[in-house]
Symmetry: C2
DNA sequence: GTCTATATAAGGATAGAC
DNA sequence: GTCTATCCTTATATAGAC
């Protein structure tokens, strides 16, 4: 029996393994060579399916964004405010687990590609949060501002939790729980009217 | 007149240029080779002053942490709460300008070195924020929790501002201003009692 | 579609000359 | 203390065989 591997769909395998690779080494550590190694093919093989490194990474990013949107959508909660706070925690948990968040969609190298699928997936993920925010903030502008604040908060907790600023920690809660707590405070705070761009 | 450059203190020059290099290409883009090039010396020269790449980066990180502490200390404001909110904005402005924030102190590669100066500089920077927080939160635990939340928020705004999630932006304010606004909301929110680690 | 082999480039690090 | 020269590793990407 041959040790040779027949890939029915190497492209799909590469995206699957790519998500796992990013989860392990982060976006910075992503490399076509390492990905090929894990998929059990030569370093040249991926280039038959994706023109270059960035297009392959964009495909991985699209998959990640879709999984993120699905996670956010599944977040439970008793009322809209609770769901939104919990979704912030879900976001942190997702980034902790997957090594990357929504910022991959806006990575300069990938933006340059103008990938439609990627842009759409990124927008879909944000739309989940915006939908929840609209239920706790009357105006559309206030809802967007709140989402911006919560995403910043979540992104920060995800980064700090990973690198370990938590040497300063004062509780035994994990990063997602602490992010949820902070989100609750922010959601509960009285909204200031944002300036609308003229 | 000789084109030859005599460095009275190459070590100091390397740290100076290292800060500028990190500001330009980020921590990920930091390289001894590029730094040597900018200092006008061979790629071997830095290794006479710093054992390896990480020790050189640690020296740069220490300098960055000290500059950050100085920036935070200089933040003006009418009262403690206003100063703390403004300091959050200052942090975002610093990271935008210097390409890195307090997380460099906790980078795994550098933590492994156990560099005393670096650890001290990092703690000093955080102590500025903790000092301000203690003026707006009665308990030490609540103050630490608030600092954690504000640093997460600042870190998130700095990252998103850089990568451009601001495609979603609804105001014409810059990232530091928006971070200050969010910080104000968080500081104004009623503190929840944090769990103390047993 | 996949492989082998190769061109090209960058970086970390060391040995030994000066 | 600094340079030149070199080695080793890693990665992107392509050409041509199978």
């Amino acid at each position: 029996m041959s040790r040779r591997y027949h890939h029915g769909d190497l492209a799909a395998t590469l995206v699957d393994e790519g998500v796992a690779l990013v989860a392990e080494v982060g976006v910075a550590g992503f490399s076509v060579a390492e990905l090929a190694r894990r998929a059990g093919v030569s370093t040249a093989a991926p280039y038959r399916h994706f023109g270059d490194r960035d297009r392959l990474l964009a495909a991985v990013a699209t998959r990640v964004a879709r999984e993120l949107a699905a996670c956010l959508e599944d977040t439970p909660g008793e009322d809209p405010a609770a769901r939104l706070a919990a979704a912030t925690g879900t976001y942190v948990a997702f980034v902790t687990r997957c090594g990357v968040g929504i910022e991959i969609v806006y990575a300069p190298a990938l933006r340059r590609l103008g990938d439609e699928d990627l842009a759409h997936a990124g927008r879909a993920a944000m739309d989940v949060l915006i939908g929840l925010a609209r239920e706790v903030r009357p105006s559309a502008d206030a809802a967007l501002l709140l989402v911006e604040q919560l995403v910043a908060l979540a992104h920060g907790y995800a980064s700090l939790g990973a690198t370990g600023l938590t040497a300063e920690r004062i509780t035994d809660e994990d990063a997602p729980t602490r992010a949820t707590r902070a989100a609750r405070a922010l959601i509960g705070a009285a909204p200031e009217a944002p300036l609308v761009v003229g």
